[in-house]
Amino acid sequence: MGLKEAMKRKDTGMVDKVIDKLSKSFEDDRISTRDTDLISYSHDYWPISLHWMLEDKFPSLPNAVIWPQNKEEVKEIVKWCYKGDVPIYPYGGGSGVLGAAVPERGGIVVDLKKMRSLDIDGDNLLVKAESGLNGYYLESRLNDEGYTMGNIPQSLYPSTVGGWVGTKATGQFSTKYGGIEEMLKGIEMVVPPGKILKLKPHPRTSTGPDLRELFVGAEGTMGIMTKGWFKIWPHPENRIKLSFISERLEDAVESVRKIMRRGAKPAVIRIYDKTETKRHFYEYEEIYNKIATVIIIEGDEEITEAERSIVEEEFVGEYKGEEPVDHWLETRFNVKEASEFVPMGVVFDTIEVAVNWSKAEGLYHNVIEAIKPIKGVLFASAHASHFYPQGICFYFTFAGAPPRKKDPESFYQQVWSEAMKAVLESGGTISHHHGVGRQRKDWLKEELGEGLEMLKKIKEKVDKKNIMNPGNLGL
């Protein structure tokens, strides 16, 4: 649907009334129905929506965009939208890759990036951050004060704190610092029909089910996060960089399993299969065509030295020094693929999943073998990037050119479908940290079973009119 057609909406009566109401409280530059703004919020970083952009299609245009500055304004937005049955889509950095922020049913996009205050509480190792705060801004402020939160996703530069919580994100240093769910100690939410809910940042509390979990990974379906309290750490005094090459993926994976069993927690562990080793480390002849592993251990000096010993004792592979780790550190934010390939008609995406150790090898091979034979696929590869005593996250990458008579979206969905099937059959979970969004919702039933019905019932109680990001997560 082109822009002009998309603009010819059916019945927008209630939406217009709500926009009129809100326009009385928000200045002109904080509420907009301008074409440029509606287009800008009609997508996130879901590859499907990138193709829409290139093809001048606008299937998901919001009716308005609004930029609140505080929780009271968020409350007012939710109140009016609830009264008028108008869908709301909370928006952070727009770097989500599964369409979670795509306003598929029209309505109002609420961009939280003007809410960006932070307060560092070093004594209690907590940071309070408003949901629109930029990730890099937060981490660099913490670093300047001698702390780290340790959440360093590849989207650190464009993403926001609220987006991290909403998508249940995790970062490159998660093996030590954990995912955002472990960092989040307290949360402030605005929930339908327009109430503020605050869960305080206690060190621990035994007061019934942990309601924070209801909002982590809810992707905007349960309300709008306005503030979070996160745990922080003193900035690591010591950093150890190690790399290895192995002949077989299994050797590297088994080595890390043993390291994790012994209680060592390197901040970063990344194992690349042969294709990805060639792609990322082509400048290192000795590494090319091997299985490369890069490891970063950081923290207190004595602890890190003990962890180094464990890694060196357990790793089956040839030590390759610090240089490959430095190379990874230097290039880890080079996000170029979509820019280079998508405009040329190449369909490109990543799929991250997790699985217990005993099924890891099987899942890796099953997914690669499920994707590769699909007509049009050029390559499928993976690296493992987040580790737990119980298992591993595999991060698959595929690219392909849709065969003749097949449009990019159907080709893309075919690859996803085969990959998801293979993951479920191999005993894995369909998502490790990107979330569900609109792309993965159809596999949620198989993933959660009866749990999905429970989730739907909770959603009905929290948001009776289903105004909060309707359609997302299949809710």
Partner: protein, 385 residues
């Protein structure tokens, strides 16, 4: 050593010709002809958002770096009309060049979008806020029109000091002090009594025709002085003369330096024991990113013996004063002022005495009524040398 794309060749080698041929063709075509920079930028998830002052303070996708490119792409594709409303986000750029530091393709969003601004100007789609500026530049050769009551300076010497529109109109005392400093470091400075604007405000606004005209004028005037060395107070002027003029076939033979670059080359020691740790500093974006002098200002101050307090955002992460790039302060004064506030509050935490080396930054911070003293680097050198 294997090549960058060898891994892909290896992957493709196992595929049938039928599968790989169309992609290989697309890939090769793409490598040769594009995609266009604007398209590439549009496909990025804003990996420079954190460095863009507009994006951080305005907080809108529409004015984010990639967001602006997406609007540009829609205008190019005729999805959006070329009109003032649609152009507005494109003009929300401070031309600070911070995006370039973080871009894997080294793109500058202001450069990527310049052709659209140029097309708008050529089609006379001109904001009234720019019209007076263009008239003043065209008719009087400065951004302030006629500059009155100017002091006379020597018109011959060995270093041509180009004062710039801003100091000529707003802070002529800095001109006196810069002349004095140049003298103290052994130069014989002189000025062009009929100095005109370098043209960068026109360039920033997309009026390339006017920029060319001004660049021809100034290039000729500078060359006619026969000066071998040219010094500017304004980093944007230095950037224009050094980097932009050659791109428009205006080559100036003289060695052009911003005052910081010029003084950096001198072995100068300041007599400043009493004021150690009194000052903080603000590095102008055009000095840092335009001229590539990432740490020159701090180096100059510290090597001269002045211990200064380092701001949180410094060097290549310096944060624009909010008035850079000509267009934002004219079209969106509120946003410009918010950015200035963000920066001044950061600096004020360290000191109310701020050293900078850009007339625009100085004027901007002084106008905020925040009780700060903003010193041009030449004022500091004049005082303590």
């Amino acid at each position: 050593m294997p090549g960058k794309w060898d891994w892909l060749k290896d992957e493709l080698s196992g595929l049938s010709m039928l599968t790989k041929l169309p992609t290989m063709t697309k890939f090769l075509k793409g490598k040769i002809s594009g995609p266009a920079d604007m398209t590439k930028c549009s496909m990025c998830p804003n990996m420079c958002r954190h460095a863009c002052p507009i994006s951080i303070v305005d907080g809108k996708e529409t004015t984010s770096p990639a967001g602006k490119s997406r609007i540009g792409m829609m205008i190019e594709n005729d999805v959006l009309s070329l009109n003032q409303e649609n152009l507005f986000p494109i003009y929300m750029c401070l031309s600070c060049g911070c995006c370039e530091n973080w871009c894997p393709f080294n793109f500058s969003v202001s450069e990527i979008l310049r052709p659209i601004k140029k097309r708008a100007i050529e089609k006379t789609i001109i904001y009234e806020e720019f019209a007076d500026l263009f008239d003043d530049l065209r008719q009087k050769g400065t951004i302030y029109g006629e500059i009155e009551d100017e002091k006379n300076f020597s018109e011959s010497g060995d270093v041509l000091y180009l004062r710039g529109c801003e100091f000529r109109e707003e802070a002529s005392e800095v001109i006196d002090k810069t002349m004095a400093v140049l003298d103290k470091v052994g130069s014989d400075p002189f000025v062009l009594s009929d100095e005109e604007c370098c043209g960068i405000p026109a360039y920033n606004a997309g009026n390339i025709g006017l920029f060319k005209k001004l660049s021809e004028t100034m290039s000729k005037k500078i060359s006619e002085t026969g000066a071998e060395k040219v010094v500017t107070s304004c980093p944007s002027c230095a950037y224009a003369y050094k980097e932009l003029y050659p791109k428009f076939d205006q080559n100036i033979d003289a060695e052009i330096s911003h005052i910081v670059e010029f003084l950096e080359k001198k072995e100068v020691k300041l007599d400043i024991e009493a004021v150690q740790d009194q000052f903080t500093y603000h590095e102008p974006c055009k000095l840092v990113n335009g001229l590539g002098k990432k740490d020159s200002m701090r180096n100059l101050l510290e090597r001269s013996g002045l211990k200064v307090k380092k701001p949180r955002r410094h060097g290549e992460e310096t944060f624009c004063c909010g008035s850079g790039g000509t267009t934002v302060p004219r079209l969106n004064e509120e946003l410009s002022s918010e950015i200035a506030q963000e920066r001044i509050q950061e600096l004020k935490k360290l000191s109310d005495d701020i050293i900078t080396s850009c007339p625009t930054c100085k004027q901007t911070f002084e106008s905020l009524d925040e009780g700060v003293q903003v010193h041009d680097v030449a004022e500091i050198f004049d005082r303590f040398l």
